[in-house]
Symmetry: C2
Subunit: 318 residues, 2 copies
């Protein structure tokens, strides 16, 4: 095979990671560029393509790259379009025909999906879900994303946008206001931002002593550190977050009966502090046939590689 | 082809419908037997097989039947087992290896699934979902069942039990007690039984005048008839039921991004009385990209044939 590699590109609001990956899932070379240098997407694409050419020199040239997989917020697998991605300076409320633009510039087939779906593909190809046909990937970062795999395939749905479990609102009807314009979305509670929001709310509502009262701009990391030091309120915040996730997971299971739910992202680094209440409340709320039968696992991909690996796995489609 | 027909069997608590179907979806012959004549499943299988032999005389013999599709409560597609079907007198809390038993008795391959999945297959093969690759079937009967189709395939999940959307509890946390032992399940509100339950609760809680106060054992049919006559409370009950379904549907869409949600079953005969509030609240609660884009349709299969057609469609798998 004269094209033995794929490229993986993970587009975040500030940083774009790109890497070249072989069939065994080794990241052979990687680099980053700024995502927010240009408001004109064409200038961004040009910079991205130049970075790819430079990176490819380490494995020969871009001639050896079979396909490019891209994970981006609101990336649509069917259309190759990034739609309404408000976190990307060149995205805004526009529809960006990303795959087409990058393919024209690079001469390589481009496969786009959203970041959580890319993570699911990566986990299935190289990670904790290797060998699994039915699982749900939940990314707990600034927001909550999801990638659903059924019978070995990512679920894209009728329009390519399936798997927006961070925006299921049933978690708390008429709950917190979400960026999406609605209320009660899972991600307003169970993301890194949601955890910090819970901390601020609770500190305001109660007089309970807490290490967190010493901080100015509380982050989920602060809550984690405080909980680790035994801070009662912080431990309770994780129990509450885990309870909301566990309740939501019980309903997700009723949909697709997965073998496992796999957690990824910054908040997933909280380990047992988050996992224990999730598992407890998930099973407490689970329909009888699934009680204690669905695993909740952490991603086992090396964090620095995971985003690139996930996106790159799509590149093998070509 | 010397085996041009399939048989469809729909097992309900009291009645079992069976029919013989051709490739165009015409029910050539049909009959019913009692489901609850025998507590021993072997005696039931014998009676069922005799009925099938008798029915097959009209198309020649059972030699012409390629496969038998069976829809039954808690029927598992992977294992062919009916598990814990408390509504079936020979089911109880046992695991009945139904496919195996019927195959041994009839000599014909048997494919089992639950009733809602059978309905989804029927709708996709012959009904309102013909040509659709992604839709969700919701059966509104005594309970609420669901069959989820993604990329043209029914979702069975890791264990064969996927698609229990009637038992998602997020609809009202800590809500009504459900037969499944938990609280707040969708089917405690949005089934025929749920509608009657709402009526009884509301009549007790308020002094509002209503035709329903003239009835003793209120059924969903009574509420429908009263609403049709302009009874305000009864119309409100349908609005409430539709609101709960609409909210739930908005979350279901976030999972699999279906082209349509298709309603089937007794309560679906309520027409616009139920459909209007469903569509209104679904779109009100929908994430922006799906607002006003997902159809809610009624099944268009002839009711007397639908259950048989749905089950029979599985028979073509052989």
């Amino acid at each position: 095979m004269n094209k033995p590699y794929v490229a993986g590109i993970d587009i975040g609001g500030q940083t774009t990671k790109l890497g070249i990956v072989d069939a065994r899932g080794s990241v052979l070379a990687q680099t980053t560029i700024r995502t927010d240098n240009h408001t004109d997407v064409n200038l961004y694409i040009e910079e991205l393509n130049n970075a790819l050419i430079k990176l490819s020199a380490r494995i020969g040239s871009t001639e050896k790259i079979r396909g490019i997989g891209v994970g981006a917020p609101n990336g649509n697998y069917y259309t190759g379009v990034i739609d309404n991605a408000v976190n990307l300076v060149w995205g805004g409320s526009k529809a960006i025909p990303f795959s087409k633009l990058l393919k024209e510039k690079s001469g390589i087939p481009v496969y786009l999906t959203n970041d959580a779906n890319a993570a699911a593909v990566g986990e299935m190809t190289y990670g904790a879900a290797k060998g699994m046909k039915n699982f749900i990937m939940i990314t707990l970062g600034t927001g909550v994303g999801s990638g659903i795999v059924i019978d070995g395939h990512v679920v894209y749905g009728h329009d390519g946008f399936a798997g927006e479990l961070g925006h299921t609102t049933a978690v708390r009807r008429n709950g917190r206001i979400c960026n999406c314009g609605r209320t009660g979305c899972l991600e307003t509670y169970a993301s890194a931002v949601g955890v910090a929001r819970t901390a601020r709310e609770w500190l305001e509502m109660s007089q309970e002593p807490s290490i967190l009262r010493n901080y100015d701009n509380i982050t989920s990391k602060d809550v984690y550190n405080a909980a680790k030091e035994g801070d009662k309120l912080s431990i309770e915040i994780f129990n509450y977050t885990g309870k909301i996730l566990g309740e939501a997971f019980a309903d997700f299971v009723a949909f697709s009966a997965p073998e496992a739910i796999i957690l990824f992202g910054g908040l997933a680094r909280s380990g047992n502090l988050l996992l224990k209440p999730i598992v407890e409340h998930m099973n407490e709320n689970m329909l009888f046939m699934w009680k204690n039968k669905v695993q909740v696992l952490f991603s086992n991909l090396k964090e620095s590689d995971a985003a690139i690996l996930g996106a790159s796995a799509l590149g093998w489609d070509s």
